[in-house]
Symmetry: C2
Subunit: 341 residues, 2 copies
DNA sequence: TATTCTGATGGAAGCGATTCCATTGTCTGC
DNA sequence: GCAGACAATGGAATCGCTTCCATCAGAATA
């Protein structure tokens, strides 16, 4: 037989559907005896109310907001953003639930996105660490689906919350220069990862910009790019350190890669920070423990702000201005030091 | 005005509701001209179809499964489990979406759980790192809500996927004893954390059991418990190492605490593994990089298995047996060594 | 011109609940 | 013994869509 409905339960229990509904909703206006009979019928049939049908007639409905992201590679960033989103969800007491999607590739992203738009389970979308093509944006717009991104800073006409990566690169460069470093290397991801994602390129851009302004050279061999991976980063750092004229400082595009740099330095017999300064980007939990100097970005905060902004988009007619994250800042710890002149 | 419905659109466009529906669903049987008119009306009204109403009449419906968990403190564990769940979701091509809840406290858990059961958006529940009270279990059962847990191994009559923590403690103890250690300390969480969660107690139990069997002492001062925190763990480890008769090896209940032990040892001027062996539990990404010897558990796998089992519960009438995770194993790296006799 | 076919369209019937109103029976108090 | 109040109940109307069937205009065929 098909899955039982409330009518089946009513028939089985010999009562009206209204009574069954009342039992389901713990209404006090049901006689204890009747309640028991209905409950028995429910159990016997293994009846479970249909959530859709249940919400539909209610005046106040649950809404869903969707979060779509890469496969959770950057654990802490993922977790903290999620936490931020949930926090804001509770804080605003929005009657919203959060649906999580993830994509394995850009094709899969495309596919998922059309499914999401087609089924429309979700009334708003937060896109994390994924770049939207123009077609996808058009699609979202024609579907009247509000959306906000986390971690993009391309000059696009859609709202994105996230660290300004270019500025982050500038900050790291300024900091190292201020410490007296003149020969600074860069370790980061190849420019376009599988998700069309350009963090590395952006951070390098700001970094290079400041070096240029200070008339400091950034020879090609000082820029080492590779797949996002600890072992790869370690190799890149080793290459950097065995150069005939090695840098005195390294800017790693993220803390994980910075750890790899420290690792490589250790293996090369270099003392940190005496022989080499290393600055990362992110400020992970481990960075605190390891004592890594790094550029702090606010993951949890970005999740929170993204959700708030999305809700605003969903409610307000004139779309509010995209909020800005607090400025990036260097957290100085023990892997960098001032160079004696 | 209220949010527009398909009828408003039909009226505005001067067509029937059937036609509007066809446009919404990209049906080919709509004249291009009509489609345009309808699309304009949709845009003008800012119409967005109601997802509930949309699903309801469909023969094949999306189902939701819920995941409820603590506030994502253990980043990697959280992320990998999520990934496992999503993986299984796609792999099984179940028409399911995943709704994520998180709780801040046990009271909040109770509250959330009743909301979930009351609204029933979700047709199955995965409970991560949270202990269910008997009342909660009864509630879930009477609601006919299938559920499975991740990371519990209490002898309860509900399905839980997760490392056998007691066995994990045994394995660590056996390993260190086999290496010739006779004085082994333990660093872990206080027994009952805010979520009624007893991982530490369980791991210690297995650990103590094996030590007892080997007639090795485990003096009270060798067992150091504290809140789950790096700094706290570091202090605990320091205390352990400054004992008049310090242990030659430490079993830390998780890798993060193991890192703290390494840190403390370094500060105490001890060489690893020459002066002290440290074994952790989890096998985090960083453990690999740091070279930490640890007991490996399979986070992603547990997510996958939990989802599969949940789906089985939702479909099959005779509930299948709870699946078992692959056995725990020690991953030997560079923080432990054999003691010379 | 009469007939058939086809593609486009309108709208009633349902999806499975909630809700409200009408109805029935019980119990007061006079 | 009866009106009025009240608690428990049944079921129609409703939520906002999809879907299917009937209808119709025009093109194609005879």
């Amino acid at each position: 037989m098909d899955t039982p409905t409330i009518r089946d339960v009513a028939k089985k229990a010999g009562v009206g559907i209204g009574t069954v509904s009342r039992v389901l909703n713990n209404s006090p206006k049901v006689a204890e005896k009747t309640r028991q009979i209905v409950q028995d019928a429910i159990n016997e049939l293994g009846f479970r109310p249909n959530s859709l049908a249940r919400q539909l007639p209610r005046k106040t409905r649950l809404r869903n907001i969707g979060v779509i992201t890469q496969p959770f590679i950057a654990y802490q960033a993922f977790a903290e953003r999620m936490r931020g989103i949930q926090l804001a969800l509770y804080e605003l007491e929005s009657q919203c639930e959060m649906v999580l999607y993830n994509v394995r590739s850009l094709e899969h992203f495309d596919e998922q996105l059309s499914i999401i738009l087609q089924t429309a389970t979700v009334e708003g979308l937060i896109v994390i660490d994924l770049d939207l093509s123009d077609e996808q944006i058009t699609l979202l717009r024609t579907s009247n689906m509000p959306f906000v991104g986390i971690n993009h800073f391309r000059q696009r006409d859609w709202p994105c919350i996230g660290a300004d990566n270019v500025e982050g690169g500038r900050i790291a460069a300024r900091y190292l220069i201020e410490l007296g470093h003149r020969q600074i290397g860069y370790v980061g991801d190849t420019f376009k990862d599988d998700f069309g994602f350009q963090t590395s390129a952006e951070r390098l851009k700001g970094f290079r910009e400041v070096l240029d302004q200070a008339h400091l050279p950034l020879p090609p061999e000082y820029v080492r790019l590779g797949v996002h991976d600890y072992a790869v980063a370690k190799t890149l750092a080793s290459e950097l350190l065995t150069l005939p004229n090695p840098p005195t400082a390294i800017f790693a595009m993220c803390d994980l890669q910075a750890f790899a740099c420290l690792d490589a330095a250790r293996e090369a017999g270099l003392r940190i920070p005496d022989d080499l300064s290393v600055i990362g980007f992110d400020d992970l939990e481990m960075s605190h423990h390891v004592g890594l100097t790094t550029v702090r970005q606010h993951f949890e905060r970005s999740g929170q702000m993204a959700l708030r902004h999305l809700l605003a988009l969903m409610h307000d007619d004139p779309p509010p201005p995209t909020p800005q994250l607090p400025a990036l800042e260097v957290v100085e710890r023990h892997t960098t030091r001032r160079l004696a002149d």
